[in-house]
């Protein structure tokens, strides 16, 4: 009889990552999650079984070789570990922080069937932070291909395409409309979730690879896509994001004190209004804030408002179970003092003589039976209106793509209803040599899904250039 192999010992419990205490962090904008120490990373890495057919990797939109980099952590070979990640992901310090790992790689981890999955995101962050401290190594330069590519938007999608294509020897110009690169990483996600020093480091890594980043260049106005193609660019990638805020359409929405999530976050994050008057851009926030919406952007607005000293209510038209935000973000927000008001929708806003919002009328909602897709709708409960006092409202009910590029590019097909640019599975648009990916093609989604789209588009653009005479 053959001897049975000893089963590997399973450690079902993941190593916790230290966080700032709720009562401390809800008064500052420093990063909430503090990252693993070396010994914590070692211990967590040791939980990985190193499966020969890693399911985790298939759960990653950019297919990071997860068991390989975890093995490097076990061996304390951190430099090699980060290089393995960077073969697939140019922004690991970002992804280690803001990826929804619980529904991607970690959801597929085999240990997750019996206990807590390996904390892949935290380990990725550990390596990325190690590299930021110890200096990044640049890959060897490859011979130039002689092809020029214009990338529109320096957000997650654009940065990914730029990094992948510059490594293949193409000449890359990246046009960013704002005066700071990073897209949503800079203007949207708050400092306490993603420190801007980390984002700047990732951007400068992409620049060091040889990418020419031009800030304050709004494509569609300063140059158009047809002009870029005429003036020497062999291909164009559009990664301009979903920057156009949606409003509720309720009466009184133009009162002072009512911000779109974009305005609020741009002021606070990009322009650093939380440090006003040291920084010149102000933000006015009241004692009682209502954030309308239930996604990650709503959570970011709510948690920022708490840090600015306000009492914050989240108004969401569905129930807790239906909140689209990451579970971790909701938990963090509630620990910090967020009050949730579920099954409620806005009806009207009321202001004072100076045009500042003072109250709002809401109505109770109830869930309807799930539709064919399983998503439950909502309907208003007649006669259930109620009034709440409020002096700041933040509307976080979604963004759609900015229409400037679509309006200034003849023949570029887009969805008439949502404004998203129409692409095939590799990101090709209706125009030859023009690709798009990220929120501009899908509507508002996650950083990592934009990066995944960027990876596919980069591969397709490379093939297109090889075949192009």
């Amino acid at each position: 009889m053959a001897e049975t192999k000893p089963k590997p010992k399973l450690n079902k419990k993941a190593i916790d990552m230290a966080k700032q205490e709720p009562e401390v962090r809800n008064k500052n904008f420093s990063e909430v999650a503090l990252g693993y120490t070396e010994s914590e990373a070692q211990e967590e890495a040791s939980r990985c079984l190193g499966c020969p057919k890693p399911m985790c990797q298939s759960g990653c939109p950019v297919e990071v070789p997860i068991p390989q980099f975890i093995k490097c952590i076990k061996e304390k070979n951190y430099a090699a570990g980060i290089q393995i990640i960077k073969t697939k992901n140019a922004l690991p310090a970002v992804c280690g922080r803001v990826c929804p790992q619980e529904v991607q790689c970690q959801a597929k981890c085999i240990i997750g069937r019996v206990g807590e999955p390996v904390s892949i995101g935290r380990l990725e962050r550990f390596l990325a932070d190690w590299e930021q401290k110890n200096g990044a190594q640049l890959p060897p330069k490859v011979p130039l291909s002689g092809k020029k590519i214009a990338i529109i938007g320096a957000g997650p999608a654009g940065l990914t395409v730029a990094a992948d294509l510059v490594k293949l020897g193409h000449e890359i110009t990246m046009f960013e409309a704002l005066h700071i690169g990073g897209g949503v990483l800079s203007y949207g996600i708050p400092e306490f979730r993603l420190p801007k020093a980390i984002v700047n480091n990732e951007i400068s890594y992409v620049q060091k690879l040889g990418v020419d980043l031009r800030l304050g260049n709004l494509i569609g106005r300063i140059h158009t896509i047809p002009e870029l193609l005429k003036n020497g660019y062999d291909a164009v990638f559009i990664g301009s994001g979903a920057g156009l805020p949606q409003f509720t359409g309720c009466p009184g929405e133009n009162l002072g004190g009512i911000y779109s999530a974009n305005e609020f976050l741009i002021r606070v994050n990009l322009m650093k209004a939380f440090q006003f008057p040291e920084y010149d851009t102000p933000i006015r926030i009241g004692k009682q804030v209502v954030v309308i919406g239930g996604g990650n952007v709503a959570m970011d607005c709510a948690r920022s408002s708490i840090r600015l000293g306000s009492k914050v209510y989240l108004l969401y038209r569905r129930g807790r179970e239906e909140l689209p935000a990451r579970h971790e973000e909701i938990e963090n927000a509630e620990e910090e003092g967020l009050n949730c008001k579920f099954l409620s929708a806005p009806v009207e806003f009321y202001g004072d003589a100076k045009g500042w919002v003072r109250a709002m009328k809401c109505i109770a909602m109830e869930l309807t039976e799930p539709d064919a897709k399983g998503r439950r709708g909502v309907k208003a409960v007649p006669g259930s209106e109620f009034i709440i006092d409020v002096d700041t409202v933040i509307i976080a009910i979604g963004q759609t793509p900015n229409p400037i590029i679509q309006r200034t590019t003849d023949g570029l097909q887009s969805d008439p209803r949502y404004g998203t640019i129409t692409v095939n599975e590799v990101g090709k648009t209706s125009l030859d040599g023009v690709y798009a990916g990220g929120d501009v093609a899908t509507g508002a989604a996650t950083v990592i899904s934009a990066m995944g789209a960027g990876k596919r588009a980069a591969k397709a653009i490379h093939e297109y250039l090889l075949n192009k005479k």
């Binding site: 704002l178 203007y187 709004l218 002072g256 006003f276 008057p277 900015n402 229409p403 400037i404």
Partner: protein, 281 residues
């Protein structure tokens, strides 16, 4: 970086900068604007384009030193550089032969108005220009206005130069017909002129300059109600039908950050200037 080529004082605390920005200049049209950002801690401010020179690759804009940001900007001298000039933004004005056009400009906005007046004149229009301001000190570019116009009127609030107030215009419209009116200036001027032209059905185009941050459709702080619809000053404008704009709402929205703006100015004065670390001369 965008080097300042020329700096002119048009009136007390009103400055005109000509800045090297060839790509911006190449695409600029009357009616469009720029977002200017200076200093690591600076804010983004929208300024209407006053001119562009394709040969020299320059674009110019005027600003009134009313707050910390504009005061900081005003301290820069030729050969110094502005960190970022983004543009052109917004939609170009409609320039064609309308017939008889009345062009109205108020204080700092006289400078961009004349760019339009010039283009309208070149398009074959009969151009009547009205320069307005609080008092005579802020009536600027009178000679340029005469060069681009068939007729020039002056009006001041205090009557220190030309007509006192706008009553004369009410009288003028009783006898003279105009096919179009364009107004650039303080909101109150655009509101008043729109009210004056409305009974005569003169199509009146106003250039709105609400508070903006990105200036490209992202933040929505520049939203205005026009004909009952919510539009964005930056991407739907900056020009709108003056007879449809809800000016009272716009006036309130422009005041939303006044206390913060005042605080910034006071602190800047107390600290003896700006914090951008460049103007220690």
């Amino acid at each position: 970086m965008y080097p300042i080529i020329n700096k002119t004082e048009l009136a007390p605390k009103i400055k005109l900068f000509e800045v090297k920005a060839p790509d911006v200049a190449a695409k600029s049209h009357p009616g469009q604007f720029l977002i200017v950002i200076h200093g690591e801690k600076g804010e983004r401010i929208p300024l209407t384009i006053c001119g562009y020179d394709l040969k020299n690759g320059t674009v110019s804009f005027a600003f009134h030193e009313v707050g910390k940001t504009t005061q900081d900007l005003g301290k820069l001298e030729p050969n110094q550089e502005i960190d970022n000039v983004t543009g052109p933004l917004g939609n170009p004005s409609e320039i064609k032969n309308f017939g008889k056009v009345l062009c109205v400009g108020g204080s700092v906005m006289i400078a961009p108005l004349l760019l339009q007046a010039k283009a309208l004149k070149e398009a074959g229009n009969h151009v009547t220009t009205l320069l307005g301001a609080r008092c005579k000190d802020f009536i600027m570019l009178e000679d340029e206005a005469k060069g681009y116009s068939d007729k020039v009127y002056i009006a001041t609030d205090d009557g220190s130069k030309g007509n006192k107030g706008l009553d004369f215009l009410v009288e003028l419209l009783k006898t003279e017909k105009f096919d179009r009116c364009i107004v650039m200036g303080p909101v109150i001027l655009m509101k008043d002129i729109s009210a004056i032209t409305k009974p005569y059905g003169i199509p009146t185009v106003v250039t709105l300059t609400p508070i903006m941050i990105d200036g490209m459709g992202m933040c929505g702080v520049c939203r205005v109600t026009v004909g009952g619809k919510m539009l964005f000053g930056c991407v739907d404008g900056a020009e709108f039908d003056g007879h449809l704009v809800d000016f009272d709402e716009l006036i309130l929205r422009q005041r939303t950050m006044l206390p913060e703006e005042r605080l910034s100015s006071v602190l800047a004065e107390m600290n003896g200037g700006c914090k951008c670390g460049r103007n220690k001369t």
